[in-house]
Assembly symmetry: C2
Homo-oligomer: 239 residues x 2
DNA sequence: ACTTGTTTAAATGTCAGACATTTACTAGAC
DNA sequence: GTCTAGTAAATGTCTGACATTTAAACAAGT
């Protein structure tokens, strides 16, 4: 894989890091491949060596690359990626062709984890948590009608699930909310979002909200599982 | 808080990063405090500005610090820390006085998550996963007898739980195994490790192993919960 | 042949200094 | 008082030179 296939870039090491990271996430390099050298990258994108090094530092910190003096830069395998790093989530978000293996892994994780989180939320939620959930849900309702508001609807969707994680009032679970954004964004690009689909999704979200509001832990677990069953259909993981 | 209270350091930006990170994790600075300037840090530890910048880059990437040109470096609040970053786990490990709030948060997370993970492991485990679990368990048995092998015993303990996460065969859950090390290490420093305690802990671990081996998902869930009840006692969270 | 040691090239890592940019504060004009 | 310009101080960036590590090529000695 060469750099020629990548789009141009402008401004900042962060942009460059995103560009390279997304190419890696899309599988343009294989694990074990040697990554281009600093000077080549700098020459290709016409940026200073500093910018390149800053970008590569991020990719190394997220486990995408492995660098050793003298040898060069190697691409690490998917099992070494720090999927829970917020930077990684940001890079995955907006990547149209996310590796299906990743989409499935994240979904499987959510399917096993989110019911537990919802149960915790039902036990621990404070008034402000309920408020966040409600405002996110009403946002989802408002944007469900017209097709142009798909992006906005997704944001409210993310906000709803993130509010669930936050309502668990656990520092670790809360960190995991970052994974939601890429997962839900992937959902947008793969599902048709027909009206009946959205209605069904909304109804299931409402049950989660109600259960948490009623402090019904096991009910929240069940409802969260139902939401994710709907998600699985929309993602094309089942059927 | 000044730098004077910190021990000296030798060699490498990584060492410096660990030193500063552990000071932050121990709560030597309050959220919102201004962190010392690059030049001051460099002068105090007698390292180049580059090393300081590399170290601070790590602390920024893990959400411990927030840096903006012109303003300086601020200490972020605990809710912004990237607790799931492997670097963070490495720093927390070996920190004798980990913030009790963190210990409790990590424990609460494990108590809600690990039963689910054990259940998944019972469904998904392959032969090599079982082997890893068994070898870790026998290691725990061998090192349970004499008190000198506490550190080694803890390593086998970590290996056992890590093997459980790996056996779930999910990329996301697997990443979370990093959190185990600091959690279990904290346990060492706080518990007496009396012989009957260890026997009880071993028996409960054995039940997890057996349930996974028998592909008994709900049994593995129950057993994992029992292991963590034991852990809670040893950590002093209950009783 | 096989090993051992030396050299060479190439990659990342480090340093030092100058400069750029952003931010907060201060003094002064009106 | 309020706005503006200026100044100081902090992080960010660039550049070039040098250090260190690694792997491969090569040359000797046994």
């Amino acid at each position: 894989m060469t750099l020629d296939a990548l789009p141009p870039h402008q401004g900042g090491a962060e942009q460059l890091a995103r560009l390279l990271a997304q190419a890696l996430l899309a599988g343009h390099w294989q694990p074990g491949d040697v990554f281009p050298r600093e000077l080549d990258i700098g020459a290709h994108f016409d940026v200073s060596r500093n910018q390149v090094r800053n970008a590569l530092t991020s990719l190394t910190a997220t486990g995408l690359l492995e660098r050793t003096a003298g040898r060069g830069t190697l691409v690490r395998e998917i099992g070494d990626w720090h999927l829970l790093d917020p930077l990684m989530s940001e890079w995955m978000t907006g990547l149209v062709n996310l590796d299906p293996q990743l989409v499935r892994a994240i979904y499987a994780f959510r399917y096993s984890a989110e019911p537990v989180v919802a149960g915790l939320a039902a036990q621990e939620a404070q008034a402000e948590d309920i408020e966040r959930l409600e405002s996110a849900f009403t946002g989802m309702e408002k944007t469900a009608i017209c097709a142009e508001a798909r992006a906005e609807h997704a944001e409210y969707d993310v906000a709803f699930h993130d509010a669930t994680y936050r309502a668990s009032h656990n520092l670790v679970w809360r960190q995991m909310g970052h994974l939601l954004r890429p997962s839900i964004m992937a959902l947008i690009h793969r599902s048709q979002h027909r009206t009946d689909t959205l209605d069904d999704s909304l109804a299931r979200h409402r049950q989660v909200l109600d259960a948490i509001r009623n402090r019904d832990a096991s009910g929240a677990e069940r409802a969260a599982r139902e939401v994710l069953r709907r998600t699985a259909i929309d993602l094309g993981i089942v059927n």
